[in-house]
């Protein structure tokens, strides 16, 4: 199994979620996160004082998938979340040792 963590533009969450569920990904965990990268920051002004905000809001989706599906899922995310502009985000893929469904005790791929 693989864990796929992707950092997205907040505006892309719905599209990516729909594309994943169409493919058959049933479960996911979504986080609101802050991050910085190539995109740089933004400027805010309060009573004539400028603040440079370095960390920007992003969405992080975490899913665990079967090995055979991983490549296809990464392709779907890459295609859906792409705008071509700096700040589209990143995908991290890592191996997962085991998964347990708490309700039934099922393990491995039948638990995801």
């Amino acid at each position: 199994m693989k864990k796929v963590e992707c950092i997205l533009r907040p505006g892309k969450l719905e599209e990516v979620k729909d594309a994943l569920s169409q493919f058959g990904v049933k479960g996911m965990t979504v986080y609101q996160v802050m991050g910085c990268g190539l995109q740089g920051g933004r400027k805010e002004v309060y009573r004539g004082t400028e603040l440079t905000i370095n960390l920007l809001p992003k969405i992080k989706i975490e899913i665990v998938v079967a090995d055979k599906d991983a490549d296809e899922i990464v392709k779907i995310i890459t295609k859906t979340a792409n705008t071509g502009q700096i700040g589209d985000g990143k995908i991290f893929i890592s191996p997962v040792e085991n998964v347990v469904r708490i309700r039934t005790g099922e393990m491995d791929e039948s638990a995801i």
């Binding site: 309060y46 009573r47 004539g48 004082t49």
Partner: protein, 470 residues
């Protein structure tokens, strides 16, 4: 017919005789004007609402870890000054004069102040109403100072400071400008002819300057200038500004202490100046930093309201536009350029908006005032009397010197009794948790505070019984 006319005449004549005996007339039926009384009671209530408005205005501008502490400072000031005023504050400020400097203590505990009108102040309304109206001014003045020391002053020190400040700074100052007896002004600034319709010097310059001194004595907040300290909840600030704007109609129009044309005039110029200043602040910031900000609009209207306060009963609506436009720009420059250049940490700009705006308003009153608006006022620079500007400047200078000196002394006294400033750790965690033991925005899961449980079991007995019976 003839007989009844005679009877009516007789009764009227007897009534007149009765009314002409002042003792009986006052005791039985105080001569008050119901229209004036209604208007000033409502104005007093509106000015009271300004302080919770100020609490929100300030509360939105601090970081979320200090929002309750900031709101609490304004709220507790309502409570402290309300009691102080009844006990001795009103007597010190408005009581019979001592050397044109302060009122004496003959109205201690409001003795002699009652349901009938005073012979000196607002003679058409109950003395109680005038006293309550003035109380609301004393409250908001002290509360304004909290904007300069927000996020770092300890609560016990703040309480002590407010008691002393309102007694030794506000009460005498109010007397200097508004002290009055049956024959006219008794305070030295009032006698001099310095005009202050609704409190530009007494309320705004005094609180703004005292705030600056307090900010300097306490020092900057930890991380000031390096850590970003952005407002955490601007909609609060906007609601607060709106409440202040609304209450200010009571503040300025009510300062006519009668429901009359002068009150109407004050109402119109108040609204006009607030609007003009909000526009000029927004456009100044837009030109300077490229964005028209909501915080700028909210701050700008307050700057305009401060600017028009001393002038409200003496200037025309067109003058109010100029006063407002200048107030917005001057205050914007004060908080964005001057504050940065000097590096003091006036957290929420009590000095930049109330101090600087108040000084501009006092001077503007000397420039724009005209007897065509208020025959009891004076003509200003633009109406051929440059001397009025000098009177106004004396008022500003005296207020600045007096408020600054006494605030410094009071803070030294308070500092000798208790700790003025929160520790570094308290500042880091936030004053809400460390001083008040409360969290404005707890993380809640399933209706309970995340990771929370009662620390003492006996308190829980009641709840567990309820649970068992269920």
């Amino acid at each position: 017919m003839k007989i009844s006319k005679v009877k009516v005449g007789l009764i009227l004549w007897m009534l007149l005789v009765l009314l002409s005996i002042p003792g009986i007339a006052l005791a039985e039926d105080p001569v008050t004007d119901t229209g004036d009384t209604t208007f000033i009671i409502i104005s007093a209530a509106m000015v009271m609402l300004m302080t919770p408005g100020l609490a929100l205005f300030y509360g939105g501008m601090v970081r979320k870890k200090n929002v309750l502490s900031t709101i609490m400072m304004s709220f507790i000031t309502i409570c402290i000054v309300s009691v102080q005023w009844v006990l001795f504050g009103y007597s010190l400020a408005f009581g019979p004069d001592i050397n044109s400097l302060v009122g004496n203590l003959s109205w201690l505990g409001l003795s002699g102040v009652g349901q009938g009108p005073s012979d000196a102040y607002a003679t058409t309304i109950p003395h109680y109403v005038f006293m309550a109206f003035q109380l609301m001014f004393a409250i908001i003045t002290a509360a304004i100072i909290s904007g300069s020391i927000a996020e770092r002053m300890r609560f016990p020190a703040f309480i002590l400071f407010i008691v002393l400040w309102t007694t030794f700074v506000y009460d005498p100052l109010a007397h200097w400008v508004w002290g009055w007896d049956a024959n006219g002004a008794t305070g030295w600034l009032g006698k001099l002819g310095a005009l202050d319709f609704a409190g530009g010097t007494v309320v705004h310059i005094s609180s703004g300057v005292s705030g600056l001194v307090a900010a300097l004595v306490l020092g900057r907040r930890k991380g000031y200038g390096t850590e970003p300290m952005a407002p955490h909840q601007l909609p609060f600030t906007v609601i607060g500004a709106a409440l202040l704007w609304f209450g200010w109609f009571g503040f300025n129009a009510g300062s006519a202490v009668a429901a009359n044309g002068l009150a109407a005039s004050a109402f119109v110029v108040t609204n006009t100046a607030a609007a003009a200043a909000a526009l000029s602040w927004v456009f100044a910031e837009w030109l300077h930093h490229g964005k028209p900000t909501m915080l700028g609009a909210a701050s700008g209207c307050i700057a305009g309201l401060v600017g028009i306060t001393p002038a409200a009963g003496f200037v025309t609506p067109l003058s109010a536009i100029v006063i407002g436009l200048v107030a917005g720009i001057v205050c914007y420059l004060a908080v964005s350029v001057i504050k940065k250049r000097f590096g003091y940490d006036d957290s929420l700009d009590a000095f930049g908006v109330h101090g600087i705006g108040g000084m501009w308003g006092a001077i503007a009153t000397g420039i724009f005032c005209t007897k065509t608006v208020n025959s009891a006022g004076a003509d200003g620079l633009l109406y051929g009397n440059p001397g009025q500007v000098v009177n106004q400047l004396i008022g500003v200078g005296a207020t600045v010197a007096f408020a600054a000196t006494l605030t410094f002394v009071i803070l030294k006294v308070v500092g000798a009794v208790c700790k003025l400033r929160a520790t570094e750790e308290e500042e880091e965690v936030g004053l809400d948790l460390t001083i008040h033991g409360e969290d404005a925005y707890p993380d809640i899961v399933g209706g309970s505070i995340l990771g929370g449980k009662y620390s003492t079991t006996p308190d829980l007995a009641m709840y567990s019984t309820t649970l068992k019976t269920n």
